[in-house]
């Protein structure tokens, strides 16, 4: 007698022929040593990114990207919205942990020399993912429109202007005008919720495809 799970999978198989499409992904052999603890940090980061995406979508239901509304909507989410405090907490702490897991992941790759050919582009895409993490952190920080976020952005954009030649243009570009005001919130919001996530998904895919192709480096 077939169990109900195999019945369901047979039912799905008849309709969508999923096995055929998923087989190259699911049935790939993985090496035994991949089970070691030191190989889990990338997977952890991915888990946290999924948490960020989901909680981020929920927060966007209530958040208002405006000078007048931003802080109020944050307070509203925290105090009034059911489980709002939890969703904000998850979004906040997951972003902290991403920095931790990403840095540990990078350190392990660096110390094992796993960035060398043929994995150099995996490493480079990883560095771009790190840059994206900081871009997410920088743009997300302003959105709460509290003192910390506001001043961090003012100092951050001011620091950008110290870059030779392009600095002054870059500062106005980032702020969307003179000073950290409504245009700044608008462009930080759009970057944080649309542009950066698209880049993130692209680079993650590239990263995963290359890991699939090259496998993990053998331990010493």
């Amino acid at each position: 007698m077939a169990s109900w799970t195999s019945k369901v999978s047979q039912w799905a198989e008849e309709r969508w022929n999923l096995r055929k499409w998923l087989s190259p992904i699911l049935d790939t052999e993985v090496t035994e040593y991949k089970k070691k603890m030191r190989f889990c940090w990338g997977g952890m980061t991915f888990a946290l990114i999924v948490v960020e995406l989901i909680t981020g979508i929920f927060l966007a239901y209530y958040y208002q990207p405006s000078v007048k509304g931003a802080f109020q909507s944050i307070a509203f989410i925290t105090d009034q919205v059911y489980l709002g405090w939890l969703v904000r907490g998850l979004h906040h702490y997951a972003s902290y942990l991403i920095i931790v897991t990403v840095v540990v992941h990078m350190m392990i790759v660096f110390f094992r020399g796993a960035y060398k050919p043929p994995r150099e582009m995996t490493w480079v895409s990883g560095i771009f993912l790190l840059v994206l993490c900081f871009a997410f952190s920088f743009t997300g920080y302003l959105l709460t429109w509290d003192q910390r976020g506001y001043w961090a952005t003012r100092i951050g954009t001011g620091m950008a202007s110290e870059i030779p030649i392009i600095g002054e243009y870059l500062m106005i570009f980032l702020q969307g005008g003179y000073g950290v005001k409504q245009p700044t919130i608008t462009r930080f919001f759009i970057s944080h919720v649309i542009v950066l996530p698209l880049f993130l998904i692209g680079f993650l895919l590239a990263h995963f495809i290359m890991i699939r192709r090259q496998g993990v480096k053998k331990p010493f």
């Binding site: 942990l97 020399g113 429109w145």
Partner: protein
Amino acid sequence: MEEGKQRKPTFYPDQFFTEMIIFLFIIGIVVTLSVILPIGYEEEASPLVTPSTINPEWYFLWLFQVMKLVPPTIGVLIPFTILAILILLPFIDTKEINTFRDHRWFIYIGAAVLLLIFVLSFWATLGG
């Protein structure tokens, strides 16, 4: 499916379920943190008052300390230099390695940079 002990581990189910355990573990940590230390919110932004104690997030503390010590132009170029070195690294260092010894200088330099970042971050928390 049943091939006994000869079956080699595949992504599904072997690695997949390991990853799922990691998923649950990490989500457990995040939920615990948000329940134990609810984040709340601070004061609304005010363009005319900088709070009397202002620290960046902990992962930027080292840069915050660097900005106290060097001219701004140099300070702001430091992270970009580090990124450029990291991107170029696999194209410069292509030598094959088989043992820990082959790689030791990279390990020492990497550890030194990490230590420096820790020291700078710690220094910044002291407010010096």
